[in-house]
Amino acid sequence: MKIALRVAVFGIVVGAAGMCHAPSAWAVNACIDCHKNLKEENLRLPAVKINDDYHVVRGLKCQDCHGGDPEAADKKEKSHSKDKGFRGKPKRLDIPAFCGRCHSDPSYMRKFNPSIRTDQVKEYYTSGHGKRLREGDQKVAVCISCHDVHAIRAIKDQAAWTYPVKVAETCGHCHADPKYMKERKIPTDQLKKYKVSYHYEVLTKKGDLSAPTCNSCHGNHGATPPGVDSVENVCSHCHAATAELFDKSAHKEAFSDLGQPACVTCHGNHDVMKPTDDLLAGGKGTPCETCHEEGSAELKKAVEVRALIGGLSRGIEEADAILTRAEEAGMEVGLPKFELIEAKDNLIKARAESHTLKAKKIKVLTDPGVVIAQKTVKKGHQLMAELQFRRKGLAASLLVIGAVLVGLFLKIREVDRRGRS
């Protein structure tokens, strides 16, 4: 009797537990639990990718974007019910509005990050992509083209498509695909050109994340190529000092009159290379010959500027070479190396000043630099002479020590012989 009573109570308890609904945490995973078992790839993948999504990290669930009833496990009509706010997969044309439902709502976004921008959708519709999308062109980038979908990562995440090092590839996904872009009348070699540029080298090889990539010059959500008038403004965002110097030159007005973009005319855009002093030569193959005739007064100025900067550069190279020789030979070169830094600074300033094309101002920088470089070369020669002196001193002292050793050896022999006898 007692045993039967215990079994009955146990059965009631188990039955009650079985009839209880799972706590809400289980119910939230109902979307994923169902979708991850589906055969169709396009329906199954989101449930797999979602684990990497930043929205999930911040506590959002499937229903926060797609609506529906996450607790209605195994009941598609209920889980996908429009009465429960189910929005499903948005159409491509509607994607910006779909994301903007939260991302354009400052009072909602404030909960997660009070300082986050909420004008991305507004900005997007000013871009080339947004304008075309509004006209019904679906072959343009929308939010998920750059940010991915269901595995959207924070921008600071190194795996994010929008992480600085990855931005060029993300844009190039379309813009570097000639087949995809064939109806557009824009080139598709920007990514290839960018990858040989100095900006790309600094970003990817030197790890400087502040180096420009596509969005630095074209914008993000409002991506548009800068107009001819605004190229200098774009470049001067980083190269402010150089832009200021350029504004003082005759090129500023001349480029404007000719409708030529500043900076890009000499330095290129996507394939910006590290500038060398050869750009100042003004000879064949340089941008100067586009406008200036050979032997013209302007080109003669360029040659003069080139001579000033080249002279300082060569002086520094010579100083560096002799200090390196001395250092490798064991001489202490810390102080002369330190003093040479001022000459190197002057060279950098002179190269920047070359944008003004004013030889007098450049000379003010190169002349003291040349004096320092010459002093350093002299110091280098003194160090090499000191090295020779030390070597000769060593040879002389080793001769003396050798003589003493020979003397001691003979004395030892004599003393031993005396001892034996």
Partner: protein, 365 residues
Amino acid sequence: MSEMKANRIVSWLEERVDLGAAKHLIQEKVVPVHHHTIWYYFGGMTLFLFATQVVTGIMLTLYYRPGAEEAYESVQFIMTEVQFGWLIRSIHSWSANLMVGTMMIHLFSVYLTQAYRKPRELTWITGMALFGVVLTFGFSGYLLPWNVLSLFATKVGTNVAGQVPLVGHALVRFLRGGEDVTGATLSRFYGLHIAILPAVTTLILGFHLFMVQQQGMSSPPDVEKAAAKHPMKTMPFFPNFLLRDLFGWFAAVGVLAALAAIYPWELGKKADPFAPAPAGIRPEWYFMYMFQTLKYIPAKVGPIDGEVLGVLAFGVGGLFLLLVPFLDKKSARGEASPLFRWIGVGIIVYMVVFTALGYLAPGGK
């Protein structure tokens, strides 16, 4: 004439000072001659290199300025502006390394020839104390140029001291003069290097040499046994052995001059306490075997921290060496002691292999 003058000087001195010991050293002291006689020179060589350190060290103190703001610049001044400053500084640095090397050879040759046995236990103990003092000289002196390598080597070295159980943290604070290696550490190490350690060395070295003179040179047990049948060959200390010592010392001067001129000791970059440690930081070669051993010990060995275990193991090793005259009963009876000899060989092999690994193993360069 000159002999007469010398005799007159000696007579004058004898009326005032007992020259018995000096006379004994010159006239009576002999050095055994056998197949291990070569090792006898290393004690004198270490002493000569120590004297070199004292002389060059005194010369350096004329220009060196202790203090985080000035130390590096003063060494730079010595190397570049002071006439022959580069030579004195390089000789001081090279001689320190050579001295540690000859000291190790001296220590292990004494060990392997069982010269620590009765009645020379105190000579051995003072010798071990001198070994510790010399390593401390090396460790404290290494910081004085205040360059990047010396700052981080000192940080790592004093961190290891922090692994000593119970007193580790207090020991580190005492060594560093604070929580971190700063100008306070530099002042402390400078005082240690030029005042405390020389005073301690004078006392211990004086006693060590006194004991050596008192008891004469030891011979290995097998040589002593053979001498029971045939008289042992000897040579007078003065002038035979001393001339040979001088030969070695002059050769050492030549080696030091060549090293200083061809491989001058580098100045390095000025220490920046806020910068991260450069990659591949490592101590000087004479601490390398310990450093490398600690790298191989796992972070935890059972409940014990790996580093603590390593430090304790070194402590036990040092204690073993210190007490070997009392542990090696066979030697005390004047017999050969193969077991302790093989332990000694094992220790030498371990030190050589782990020092080499410190330079050759991946991540060691």
